[in-house]
């Protein structure tokens, strides 16, 4: 009977320990806000007539993507980070753009952009190199 109690108590402790470890964050709210601001600033710099231009591989045409809203989720990519912003094309269809960002001095810069292409992100997440912020 004692062994049953021990197992149950261990299970309870494990249940508390798992989410608490996951909830621990290594990126402060200040940095998270700075990352969001840097992404917004980067988008604003590359806007052409209020839209981001990109080349559609299928049609070969330059298409416009209008910024709508930022994703709150921030992913960790080693020492770098991955953020996402939702855009809307001329057809009203949502198109996500993933921004790979790195720290530079006290700010952050975008070093890679993936437009409407989640393949890379999925591969990196599949290999465990991109994870949720802890």
């Amino acid at each position: 009977m004692k062994s049953i109690w021990a197992v149950l108590l261990f299970a309870v402790a494990l249940g508390f320990a798992a989410p608490s470890a996951d909830a621990e964050s290594n990126l402060s709210l200040d940095d998270q806000a700075a990352l969001q601001a840097a992404m917004q600033r980067h988008i604003d710099r590359v806007l052409v007539d209020g839209a981001v231009l990109y080349i559609d591989r299928e049609s070969g045409e330059a298409r416009q993507l209008h910024p709508v809203t930022a994703h709150p989720m921030i992913l960790a990519y080693g020492e770098h980070f991955v953020l996402c912003f939702d855009f809307r094309d001329e057809d009203g269809k949502n198109v996500p753009i993933d921004y790979y960002m790195a720290r530079q001095d006290r700010s952050y810069v975008v070093f890679h952009t993936a437009v409407a292409d989640r393949t890379l992100l999925k591969e990196l997440m599949g290999s465990g190199r991109v994870t949720r912020l802890k």
């Binding site: 149950l8 299970a11 309870v12 494990l14 249940g15 508390f16 798992a18 989410p19 608490s20 996951d22 909830a23 964050s25 402060s28 709210l29 200040d30 998270q32 806000a33 700075a34 990352l35 969001q36 601001a37 840097a38 992404m39 917004q40 600033r41 604003d44 930022a70 994703h71 709150p72 989720m73 921030i74 006290r106 700010s107 912020l133």
Partner: protein
């Protein structure tokens, strides 16, 4: 602990188990722990994700608003226009998380919200610096707080914990009620029934209509009770049959005992009658023998006178032969009568010993002198191995000599010419005195050994028809030996010879000088 476990052969009833061992405590403990294991980590996980998501939303919101404000300042070149700058920063204040904003140029504040205050040093919150121009001279410092999120999360946690608590109480209540109605009641009824059965000794079944597992247990118990009741009935019947059989057996035993008593009584009566008849016979025989001996003495005396021709020669000579025959027959008859008288006296207990110290060497020598003429007449070699002096026994000398004469004469008569008859006297290892008379005669068949020890029980053999004895010599010797407290043992091998040993008890030895116990080389009882 159930009632049956607690009984343990004690009909006083179960003792109440410790609270931690009670079934409902265990049941509720398992329900509670299982509930907590499932709900608490889940709630903890949920609240963690909520906090995480709220923080992410907050930072995304603040970051984007701040960035848009910075972009607007830059776009409108409001660096040297504090009023325009404040207007552009003013929308930030619509956010509840907003604390302050400062437009800075190389560390000095050009414009701030709240105006004239900006971000107060030491104010608790989070701060983010956003570069505005490309040269990095101007920055926008935004202060914000997650206090509202924490308050909201606290409220959510409180509500969540309250919900969990209510659910927990509901689960415990439901578990307790379920336990009471589904398990405790039938179990208690079963326990009470078992207790009543144990106290009264009368097996009872339990009435329970449920068809669940408890119902199966009750059914199994009822089946057991039915089976045991039937078996008890059968045992009782068997016991009654056994009692009946025992009574019949006792009656039979009693009847048998009565019959045995009757038979024993009849047998005792018959034995008494037989003894009386035997004594009457012996008395009659003794009387008749006595009465016969008197006229026989006259016949023998007169025939001896005639045979010896004491009063002149008898003519013709044939009358003398008749007188010799009468004398011989009379003597034989007298011998027969004397032996019969001796046996009869012994059997009726009138014979007693006249004991006197007897030198055995002399007794044997004298006996041999008596027998020697008979042996010489039959051509039989007579030997002895007797110490010349030393052994003296307390005996009835006459009867002991009669024993030896009877045995030696029998041996001589049953031994053919050229045979040997030998008498040895020794002390056996048990200190008894053994008189051993052996011959090389025809021997006695094994099946006739016991017969020759009885009166007139002659053995059938090649010399029987030649030497017809009275058939009383050996039985008389045996009885006289037994009168001395001894024992006569007959051993014979047909065609080889016979050996008769007379054992006398060691108590009869008065003197023994130079006699050593001999190694037994003959039959010994």
């Amino acid at each position: 602990m159930t009632g049956s476990e607690a009984l343990g052969g004690n009909t006083r009833g179960p003792t109440r188990p410790r609270w931690s061992r009670r079934l409902h405590v265990r049941f509720l403990a398992i329900v509670s722990i299982t509930f907590l294991i499932i709900t608490l980590p889940s709630a903890w996980l949920l609240f963690s994700y909520i906090r995480h998501a709220d923080n992410a939303s907050l930072t995304a919101r603040v970051g984007n608003l701040a960035a848009r404000a910075a972009i607007a300042i830059d776009r409108h070149q409001a660096y040297a226009k504090p009023t325009l700058a404040r207007d552009l920063l003013a929308p930030l204040a619509s956010d509840r998380a907003f604390l302050c904003a400062e437009l800075r140029n190389d560390g000095s504040v050009a414009s701030a919200i709240p105006a004239a205050q900006g971000c107060v040093s030491g104010q608790s919150g989070h701060y983010v610096d956003i570069p505005i121009d490309d040269q990095g001279d101007w920055t926008l410092r935004i202060g914000f707080t997650d206090k509202e999120l924490a308050e909201a999360l606290g409220l959510e946690v409180m509500l969540g914990v309250s919900g969990i608590l209510v659910a927990f109480l509901a689960a415990v209540l439901a578990g307790g009620v379920s336990y009471r109605f589904l398990i405790w009641r039938p179990l208690n009824r079963l326990s009470d029934t078992i207790l009543r059965s144990a106290r009264s000794g009368k097996r009872e079944t339990v009435q329970w209509g449920s068809r669940d597992e408890i119902g199966l247990v009750v059914d199994a118990y009822n089946s057991l009770v039915t089976t045991e009741t039937e078996r008890e009935r059968q045992i009782r019947q068997s016991y009654q049959r056994l009692q009946t059989s025992e009574s019949a057996l006792a009656a039979l035993n009693q009847e048998l005992e009565l019959r045995v008593q009757d038979r024993t009584s009849e047998l005792e009566t018959a034995m008494r009658q037989a003894d009386l008849a035997n004594q009457s016979k012996t008395q009659f025989l003794w009387s008749m023998s006595h009465e016969l001996r008197t006229p026989l003495n006259a016949i023998i005396g007169f025939s001896e006178i005639m045979s010896r021709q004491l009063f002149g020669k008898i003519e013709p000579g044939r009358y003398k032969e008749f007188a010799d025959d009468i004398l011989y027959s009379g003597q034989h008859l007298l011998k027969l009568i004397n032996d019969l008288l001796d046996i009869a006296r012994i059997e009726v207990g009138r014979e007693s010993l006249v004991e006197a110290p007897t030198d055995i060497a002399s007794l044997v020598a004298e006996t041999l002198r008596v027998i020697r003429p008979l042996a010489e007449e039959g051509g039989v070699q007579l030997d002895s191995a007797i110490a010349d002096d030393g052994l003296t026994l307390l005996l009835d000398t006459t009867k002991m000599q009669q024993i030896l004469i009877n045995l030696l004469s029998n041996a001589v008569k049953n031994t053919s010419s050229g045979g040997d008859v030998r008498i040895d006297v020794r002390i056996d290892p048990d200190a008894r005195v053994a008189f051993r008379i052996s011959d090389t005669g025809a021997g006695i068949p094994a099946d006739q050994l016991s017969q020759v020890l009885e009166p007139f029980g002659r053995a059938e053999g090649p010399t029987t028809h030649i030497h017809k004895g009275t058939g009383l010599g050996l039985p008389l010797a045996r009885r006289m030996t037994e009168l001395h407290g001894g024992e006569l043992v007959l051993d014979s091998e047909f065609g080889v010879g016979t050996c008769v040993t007379v054992f006398l008890p060691a108590a009869r030895v008065l003197a023994n000088s130079g006699w050593l116990p001999a190694q037994p080389s003959y039959a010994s009882p």
